[in-house]
């Protein structure tokens, strides 16, 4: 079995699509956050794969930065989750609609 860059792109595309689908359709705020993490991971797979093909370490450095951003985003998102739960006693994103236009 010979793996080309296209296989990595397909894996990354599928993982990103699953995460995107989760962000669009899930009602639970926590599951939406987890889907965002899936999407960030898909991007990391692409960075690492191209980094090796191009013999350039920059991709690895930037995937470390992406992991950093993911950690910060998870911390803020979970703080928002707790804040939402305190005020509304729910995690349903459809009920967080004070600012509806």
């Amino acid at each position: 079995m010979t793996i080309t860059i296209n296989h990595f792109l397909i894996l990354s595309f599928l993982l990103f699509s699953i995460g995107f689908f989760g962000v669009l359709v899930r009602r639970n705020f926590l599951t939406v956050l987890m889907s965002i993490e899936l999407m960030l991971n898909a991007v990391n797979i692409n960075l690492i794969a191209f980094s090796r093909r191009l013999s350039d370490l920059t991709g690895q450095v930037f995937s470390v930065f992406v992991i950093t951003i993911a950690a910060g985003e998870a911390a803020i998102g979970l703080a928002l989750t707790i804040s939402l739960f305190r005020q509304r006693k729910t995690l349903n994103v459809e009920e967080a609609n004070i600012m509806r236009g």
């Binding site: 093909r53 370490l57 950690a71 703080a79």
Partner: protein, 189 residues
Amino acid sequence: MGAAEAAGSALLTGAAGWLFVGFAVLILGPAIAVVAAKNPVHSALFLLASFLLVACVFILEEAEFVGAVQILVYAGGIMVLFLFVIMLVHQRTAAGTAAFQHQWDIALLLLPVFMIPFLYILGTEKFADIARNPDAFRAVSGRVVGNTEAVSWLMFRDYLLPFEVASVFLLVAMIGAVVLGKRSFEKVD
């Protein structure tokens, strides 16, 4: 796999290729389960499995440092935070309400729409599949060192400013999380 491979061939062949296929299937299965599972605890555990297998793919791609960071930060940090918050809010498991929003079928229809440009690029673009300089991952100015040292040389020499910005970002995120998590907010309804 590795640097000793003959030039002109793809990077992952033979057993390593099958290993990649196995990892890919094992990544996508739990990823689907993350989105499909009703209980957030199950979602978190499936996400953990998916992260660990993505780390395996990183190590297969000779990015050992990023694989280790993935395990430490995601499996060790973020997932513990997720599980902690899930236990903290302790939602009554959604027995009556549906887990999915009602427009999930439209969202599923969007997938082929996004697939068209992707398949177009995949069909027309020819990406190089051979590492021109296989030693670049573990060499610093000619000396062969480890992957971690090579990455840190690049990070602290060429990307020092983004590194500092990332640390400021983490500080801002920490302060923001503390402020958002404080109890003293008034109830708004």
